[in-house]
Structures are given as C-alpha cells and as structure tokens.
C-alpha cells in the first residue's frame, strides 16, 4: 500500500514537472499561436505610435473578420528580446525592424519588392533599405529625417541665428555664447544606451570623404580619419559644453531639458522633440542640418519605423494584404504623424507638427541631402555599442580620444571579420 502511494506520488511529481516544462517551452514553430498573428510592434505602451497602430489594426480586423492580430508592445530590451526569439526559432510573424530590415534581419524576412506599394517607397530610403538588386524587406511607415534639434528661444536669447550654423566653427562659437547665458549648449544622456553614439553618427558623415567611406565599408578602418570625430566631442567636453549631469541623465532628462530651455542642442531623432513638447507644450523647437567638413551640410535619415514579415510565417498572404492596407495614404500618413516623422511613401503626406517649419525649409525647399546612419551602413553589425561606450569614456574624461579610437579600431577589425 505504502509503496503504491509512493510510486503514485513520484509519478505525479514527474508528470507535473514535465507539464510545467512543456508549458514553459514554446512550440518552436514560432510566430502564430493558432489563428492569431503575432506582431512585435517595438512601440512603447502608451505611445502615440502604438495607439495609432492599434487603431489602424483594429479597423483592419473589423473589415477582415477571419484575421486576428496580437500587437506586442516593446519592452525596454526590444533588440535583445527579438534576437533571443530569432535564435530560438520562435520567430514572430511580423516585426518592427528599427533600421535593420536589410542589414540584420533580411535572412529572416520575406522580400517585398513585388508588392504594389514598392514603387511608392520614398527614394531617400533606398540607401538604407534596398539591396543592390533592388530588394526590400520591410514597409517603411516613415522616413527618419533628423538634424540637430534646437530650442529657438535659447538661441534667440544668446543672439544665435540657427541658419548661420553651417560650419562646426560657427556651431562652437554659438555654443560658447549659449554657455555664457547659463544654459547647457549640448545635452546628452549617459544613462540611455544611445545618445553618446548618436554624436558619432551625426558628426561622422561630415568628416569622411566619399572615398574614405567606401574604403571603410570595404573593411579598412583608418584611425586618423576617425579621430577628428572623437576630438570634436573631446573639445566640447573640455569646453564644458556638455551637461554636467551627463552620467546620470536619462533620455527623458534630455527631452525635458530641451523643452524647458535648459539646453540648446540635442543630437537625437525627432521623437525627442515630441517628448519635449509633452513636458513643455509651448517650447519653440526646430532642427538644422549637420555641418560638414567635407561637403555641404546634411540631414541624417533612413529607415526607422518599418515592418517586415517572417518568411516562415504561415500567414504570408494575410500579412502582405495587411501591409498593403498600412501603405494606404491615410494610414501611412497617420502613422508617420504619430511618429513625428516624414511619411515613408511618396503617396502619403507628412505632418511633423512643431518641426514642420524646419522640414519645409531644409527638406522640401532646400532639398538638403540625406545621409544614412553612419554605423548602420559603414560599420559592421554590432559596432553600435562600441561607439556608445567609447564616446561615453571620452565625455566622462575616463579615456583620451586616441584610446577610444584604438578600441573602435579593435572592435571594427574583430566584428568585420566575424560578419564576413
């Protein structure tokens, strides 16, 4: 009797463990659970973009009763989460490609150049999103156009005309004037994993010539070309142009400081302006092209909010139809507006809100050239963290520019070899 009870107990325990394990593990097939289509939106809970995307998706579900989406908001570790899903073959049906549809995710994505909206993709996105054969792996909801964001009131008070800032020497002179008024010229967050790297992404295209960029893309890293970029950051640190709370400042602190007029310039995407206006609705903001030592000023841009479809999804047909629906001018325009960016398709309209004046002047009227994100196009995959960390060590005075350049060179060599 006793032995029977013990055996039954052991069996129950074993079965419970097995059940718990099986429940915890995914099917391994990835993506859909039943008929629901899994979409990793990459959009934060409570953001305008997620709200608009949900609204548009709900309308689609209403008109297509057999289709059901599960829109998954972003965690704070979107990239890491997605990489884990890809590595474990738990691939979502559709996901936000955040600038990497071609260079990181194309192995997993369905080519979409045969879709009807392909001809309407903003040609400014070609450099970042298309392969040399014209293949495209995601539908761009917007075109990321970013320059140096600034607070107009701060510049006016310091007697700086933003249109005069067409060279780095003019920029530095303006920073000195702004600092004299007691305002931080350049606000950067050291707590967030990005803003320090953005300084490099923004400055670098204007320090490299086309030939040097081609050589870099081909795998040759020249420290002598890269060093002036870091030297520039170091000169800002030495002059006290960067906020003293850099190490503990968060991304929210950056936008707050810009909106409140406690900072003049920010090297960030336009979404920061939207955040700044949330805390300071009356703030006068704009953006200006980035000065260049090798050519005319430029704007940074490319893919930002775009969606690709897993080539192994069992809902390929439904998803292609859904992308076609998202590409309709009304939907794409609404989504681009929620992102605070220009539209991703030429058939849509762009409404950048507070930044519309700058957009009209520099993009529509002046047709300022748009250069791709430096790290995405010219550096091997995985270099972003190196840019952030080495720049961080220079801003905090923990490393000399030469040391930072050496580290970038070491990682470039290692990652270029790895990605070959």
């Amino acid at each position: 009797m006793k032995s029977k009870t013990a055996r039954v107990g052991a069996l129950i325990l074993t079965a419970a463990t097995a059940a718990a394990l099986l429940t915890g593990c995914s099917s391994g097939a990835g993506g859909s659970s039943g008929g629901t289509i899994q979409v990793e939106t990459g959009f934060a809970s409570g953001s305008d973009l997620l709200a608009t995307f949900t609204k548009v998706t709900n309308a689609y579900e209403k008109s297509h009763p057999g289709v059901k989406f599960n829109l998954i908001p972003s965690s704070t570790n979107y990239e890491q989460d997605l990489k884990v899903k890809l590595a474990s073959h738990d691939v979502p049906d559709m996901w936000w490609t955040h600038g990497w549809s071609r260079d990181r995710y194309s192995k997993f994505l369905e080519p979409l150049q045969d879709q009807s909206w392909n001809k309407d993709v903003n040609p400014q996105l070609d450099a970042a999103m298309r392969t040399s054969s014209g293949a495209i792996y995601a539908l761009p909801l917007d075109t990321d156009v970013a320059g140096i964001l600034y607070n107009k009131s701060v510049l006016t008070k310091a007697g700086v005309d933003p249109e005069s800032l067409t060279s780095w020497s003019a920029f530095d002179a303006a920073a000195a004037k702004i600092k004299a008024t007691g305002v931080t010229p350049i606000e950067v967050s050291g707590k967030a994993n990005g803003p320090a790297g953005n300084l490099i992404d923004w400055i670098a295209p204007g320090k490299y010539t086309d030939a040097q960029l081609a050589s870099l893309k081909a795998g040759t890293f020249a420290g002598s070309v890269y060093k002036p970029i870091v030297d520039q950051v170091e000169s800002w640190r030495a002059a006290g142009y960067i906020n003293p709370d850099y190490s503990s400042a968060t991304q929210q602190d950056m936008s707050k400081a810009l909106g409140a007029g406690q900072a003049a310039f920010i090297f960030q995407q336009n979404s920061v302006a939207a955040d700044a206006l949330t805390t300071s609705p009356d703030a006068q903001l704009g953006f200006l092209p980035v000065p260049s030592d090798t050519g005319k000023p430029y704007l940074i841009g490319g893919e930002m909010n775009a969606f690709g479809i897993s080539k192994t999804s069992s809902h390929l047909t439904e998803l292609k139809a859904f992308l076609k629906y998202l590409a309709q001018p009304a939907n794409d325009s609404a989504l681009a507006k929620a992102a605070g960016s220009a539209a991703g398709l030429t058939t849509s309209t762009s409404d950048l809100g507070a930044l519309q004046t700058s957009y009209d002047q520099f993009v529509v009227k002046d047709k300022t050239r748009l250069v791709p994100y430096f790290d995405r196009v010219y550096l091997p995959n995985g270099m972003w963290n190196t840019l952030v960390t080495t720049t961080d060590s220079v801003i905090t005075g923990q490393a000399q520019p030469a040391e930072a350049v050496n580290q970038v060179g070491t990682d470039f060599k290692s990652l270029y070899g790895q990605n070959k």
Binding site: E79, T389, D392, Q398
Partner: protein
C-alpha cells in the same frame, strides 16, 4: 531485529559489513523522486553549460542560423582584449572587496547583536531585509541617491556648502560604490551565519577564559574567532561567489560605464553577446568565468578546511 553492527556486538555475532554501494538497499521507487530535480537540473543547468561550452568554439552573432567553427580563437582573444582585462580586474575587486567588507561588517554586527539587547531581533531583521530585495531595486535606489541633479547625496553636499559632484562619472568612485552597494545589501547573510556560529560556541569556554583572566578582546581573539572557523568558511565562499558573479547592481547603477570601466566579466558577457553580437566570444568568457569561480572556490575551501583541521 535487523543485523546492524550494534546488534551484532550485543549478540556477539560477526558484524555485517556496511555496503559500499550508495543507495544499496534503498527501495527503487525512492529514486523516482529524484526525477523532477534531475530533469530540472539537466535542462536548466547541465544543458546550457554544455551548449555554452560548445558555442565558445564558434563564431556566431547570437541570432542568425549560421555559425562557423573557430577552434580556440575566442579563447585566444581573451588574452588580447583590454576590455576583458579591465572587466576581470573589476570582477576580482567586486568579489574580494565585497567579501572583505561583508566579513568585517557582518562579524561586527553579529557580535554586537549577539548580546542581550532590547529590540535586537528588530535590528537583525532590518539588517537582513535588503537581502530579500532584488539587486535591481537596490541599484535603482542608489542610482537615485547618487544622481547629479536630484540625488540626495548631492543635496546633502550642497547643504554643507559644497558643490554638486558627478559621482557616477568617475570609474574609481563608481567601482567603490558598486562594492559598497553589494556589500550593504548582502551583509545580512554574513551576519546571520556569524550569529549562528556565535550561538554554537559553548558558554563554558568563554567562562573558562574569563576565569583564567582573559579580557574581552583576548577572549574574542583567543576563543570566539577560532571557533567561528566553520562560519568563516561558509560566509566567505558564499560572498565570494556572489561577488564574482555580480551583474544586476552594475547593470542598473552604471551600466558598466563610464566607458567600459565598471564592467564585471558578467556584464561584459551580456554586452558582447547582445550588443556586439559576438555570442561565441561571450560564451568563451562565460566558460572562463565558470572555471575561475570553481578554482577560487576550491582553493578557498581547501585553505579554510585545512585551517579548521589545524585548529
């Protein structure tokens, strides 16, 4: 009556030789109860360990289907990587630094709270409470304390006429801060271990020493400390392993910065795996850290056990 050795002595019959085979005579069904634990251990410890070791010989970005065998290249890179060297050095500082602080503070608190003081249980509970808090929360709390603009520490400095200081911008300060936060969080564990050790020391020994004219310090050095040897071994090994594996506090408090300067090997593994997309190299670092912790723990255990036997 079973033919146990004791029973044999009583009856005068030859003693039955105890079986050398482990578990012999144990009903087979009892072994079934091991299954859940063995399955869990195998799936969540043994399998990842073996997979990690295999990955360390590969070149892999951490997510794509392609990986290539590179032999010992990832291990060779450990010897030339300056950032790994810094992270390794920091790991030792976190491991040994935290262990030292925790032993000194833990023992002092244990001795103080072993006395018949009013409310000592409340004080013990307060000191132990941070152990129950997630290191992420502890890190966040200290981050808020040491913030530049709204941090309490800077507010206090200003109240005393000083100037704001960017505490987290300096690598030496940040490393010291991490050691401090980790030590303060887990000092409760050391305190409890030493309290248990103190309470197991027979009172007669202390009394005998007192009768022999030994003062407080002499009794502490001559009686208490030597008899705490087993507690030392447990506390030091536990703290050292925790310190060498330190991850959460660093991640939240400094993120490994400024630059790479406060990374431990654990945090650098995370960066190499996910950010630099060097999963093979990250696995090699993981294996190196695993070996390192085993070696230190074994050596320390041997040393402390030998000391115990000598005493």
């Amino acid at each position: 009556m079973a033919d146990t050795p004791a029973a044999s002595r009583v009856t005068g019959a030859p003693a039955a030789r105890p079986s050398r085979k482990r578990g012999a005579g144990r009903p087979a069904r009892v072994n079934l109860f091991y299954v859940p634990a063995v399955v869990l251990l195998g799936l969540f410890t043994a399998y990842p360990l073996v997979r990690g070791i295999l990955l360390s010989f590969q070149n892999w970005d951490g997510y794509s289907p392609d990986m290539t065998f590179v032999g010992l290249a990832n291990y060779a890179r450990l010897f030339t990587d300056q950032v790994f060297r810094t992270s390794l050095l920091n790991t030792f500082v976190y491991g040994f630094g935290s262990t030292l602080v925790q032993q000194v503070l833990g023992l002092a608190l244990a001795v103080a709270l072993d006395r018949a003081l009013r409310g000592r249980n409340v004080v013990r509970a307060i000191i132990y409470l941070p152990v129950l808090v997630s290191p992420v929360i502890m890190g966040t709390m200290y981050y808020l304390l040491f913030q530049y603009n709204s941090g309490t520490i800077n507010d206090i400095v200003i109240a005393f006429g000083g100037h704001r200081h960017a505490w987290l911008s300096d690598s030496a300060t940040s490393v010291a801060l991490i050691v401090l936060v980790n030590s303060l969080q887990f000092v409760g564990i050391s305190m409890i271990i030493y309290l248990a050790g103190l309470q197991s020391i027979p009172a007669e020994l202390q009394e005998a020493a007192m009768l022999d004219g030994a003062g407080g310090w002499k009794r502490f050095w001559g009686v208490t400390l030597p008899l705490l040897q087993p507690a030392f071994a447990t506390s030091i090994v536990l703290n050292l392993i925790g310190g060498l594996k330190l991850f959460d506090v660093i991640q939240v408090l400094t993120g490994g910065g400024p630059g790479y300067s406060t990374n431990s090997v654990s945090t650098f593994i995370g960066k190499a795996y996910f950010d630099n997309q060097s999963a093979g190299y990250a696995s090699a670092m993981g294996v190196a850290l695993f070996v390192l912790i085993i070696v230190f723990t074994l050596v320390l255990n041997l040393f402390l056990n030998r000391r115990r036997l000598e005493m």
